[in-house]
Subunit: 253 residues, 2 copies
C-alpha cells in the first residue's frame, strides 16, 4: 500500500530534509519513526529537499507500507507522531495509487517568505522571518516581484548543487509572486511549476535589494533570461533560510 504523508516541520533544529551521513535531517528522523513502527527499514520520497532552517507547512512524501503492517492510513498519523519530536508532525496520511510519486507527480509548489520590519525582532519570530530593520519600499518590492511572473530562464537565480550538466534546464514558470501585509511585516507568496536550488531565497534577496534602493530595477530585470554565458552573472543576493516555508505542494486531483 502506497501512503502519502503531509508533513509539517519547524526547520530550526534540523539540517534540512535530505538524509545525510551525519543524521539530524527530517528525512532521517521520519524514516526512523517508520522503522520504529514497522520494524523494517523503509525509504521515503519527498516532493523535494528543503534546506537547513527552512520550514514546511505541508511537505509531501510517499512510502510503501510493508505488507506485514496491517494499519489503515488514518492510524499512521498518531503511530508516527508518538515516535517523532514535537517539531516534526505528520498532519495527514492517505492511501494513493501505486504510481503516485511525491516528486514526479507534483504539478507545482507554493512557498511563503516572511519579512519582519519591526525595529526589534520579536523573540517568537527568531528563525521564522528575515529581520529587515532598514526600511524598504513596498511598491518597489511589489514591482520587482512582478518581473518574476511568467516562464523565464532562472539560471542567475539558481545556486549550483554540483550535479548540473550542460543540458540542465533552468526554465521555470512562476504563476504568482505576490506581496501581502502581515502583522509587523510582509509575506511574499511564490507559486510555480518548480523551483531551482535556493531559487526562492535568491529571488527574494534580489527583490529586497531593489526595494532598499541598492539595485536598480533595470539591473534586476537584466538578471532574468540571460543567454547561456550569463553576461550579467549570477544574482549574489541570497535571503536567509529563516523566512522560508514550503507552504503547499500541488498534484493533479
Amino acid at each position: 500500500m502506497r501512503l502519502k504523508l503531509t508533513i509539517a516541520y519547524d526547520g530550526r533544529p534540523y539540517s534540512g530534509w535530505q538524509s545525510q551521513p551525519g543524521g539530524n535531517t527530517i528525512q532521517d528522523i521520519i524514516e526512523q519513526a517508520i522503522e520504529a513502527v514497522t520494524k523494517q527499514q523503509v525509504r521515503i520520497h519527498s516532493s523535494g529537499r528543503t534546506d537547513t532552517g527552512v520550514h514546511a507547512n505541508a511537505q509531501i512524501a510517499h512510502f510503501d507500507a510493508p505488507n506485514t503492517v496491517d494499519m489503515n492510513p488514518y492510524n499512521w498519523v498518531p503511530a508516527l507522531n508518538t515516535k517523532l519530536p514535537a517539531t516534526i508532525r505528520v498532519m495527514d496520511c492517505e492511501q494513493v495509487a501505486d504510481d503516485f510519486h511525491a516528486r514526479y507527480s507534483a504539478t507545482g509548489k507554493t512557498y511563503h517568505y516572511e519579512l519582519c520590519m519591526q525595529p526589534v525582532m520579536p523573540p517568537l519570530q527568531a528563525g521564522l522571518a528575515w529581520h529587515l530593520p532598514r526600511q524598504l519600499d513596498p511598491a518597489t518590492l511589489e514591482q520587482a516581484l512582478t518581473h518574476y511572473i511568467g516562464t523565464h530562464c532562472f539560471k542567475a537565480f539558481a545556486a549550483n548543487r554540483g550535479n548540473e550538466t550542460e543540458s540542465t534546464d533552468y526554465s521555470r514558470t512562476i504563476t504568482e509572486a505576490k506581496l501581502t501585509t502581515i502583522d509587523g511585516g510582509y509575506r511574499i507568496i511564490y507559486s510555480g511549476n518548480g523551483f531551482l536550488y535556493k531559487m526562492v531565497r535568491l529571488l527574494t534577496g534580489a527583490a529586497v535589494q531593489a526595494a532598499q534602493g541598492r539595485l536598480r530595477l533595470d539591473d534586476h530585470l537584466a538578471l532574468l533570461d540571460q543567454p547561456d554565458d550569463l553576461p550579467y552573472g549570477k544574482s549574489p543576493y541570497c535571503a536567509p533560510a529563516d523566512g522560508l516555508t514550503l507552504f503547499q505542494v500541488n498534484y493533479m486531483t
Copy 2:
C-alpha cells in the same frame, strides 16, 4: 538614572524569570548583558516572576544605570540586544522617575492563554499552546470564565510557593476573562489587579475541565471564595506553562 525595560521572550529554553543558582533564567541572562555593557553588577527588578516555559510579550523591569555609563535610554536597546540571545529581546527602554518600581508601581496585568484545538499540533506551535485534541464546549468555557470576573478569594487557585503566612492575602480582582477565537483554536485573555502563583494556569485548567464535561459548573463555582479551611480544597487542574504569555503590565500614566 532609572530605566524601564520592556522585554519579550520565548520561555521555552529558560528556567523562568527569577534568578537562581543554576542560572539559565531570563533575569540572569539580562543581568549578564547589563554587566557586559556597564562592567558592573547591576540588579534588575521585574513586575513579577514568570515560570519555566512561560512567554512574555511585554514583561517590565527596571534598574538604575550606573553613573559611569552616559548613554541615552534609546541606545540601551541595541546595546543590550547585541549581548542577548535572539529568544530574549529588549523591545523598548525609557527613563522613569526614581521612585518608579516595576512591581510596586504596577496597577494590573494582562495574560494570554492559547488553546490549540487542531487534531495534530502544528510544529511551530509546540510549546506555545495547550494542545486539546479532545473537543470542548466553548459556550461552557465562556461561562466558566465569567465566574472569575470580580473580586474573589482565589486561594483555591493559588499554588504554594513556600512563603505563605496566615496573613497572606488571596483576594484579587479580575476585570476580564474573555474567550476569543484564533486560527485553529482559542485565546483566553485575563486582566486583573494581580495574580497569585500559578493562578492563571489553575483558572484555565479548571475552566477547560468544565468545558470538557469533567467538572460541573456548580462544583467549579464552589472553588471560588471558600472560607479559610477550604472545604472544597484546592483546584487540582493546572494547565501547562506552554500556552501562557505575560502580555502586558499596566501602570498609572
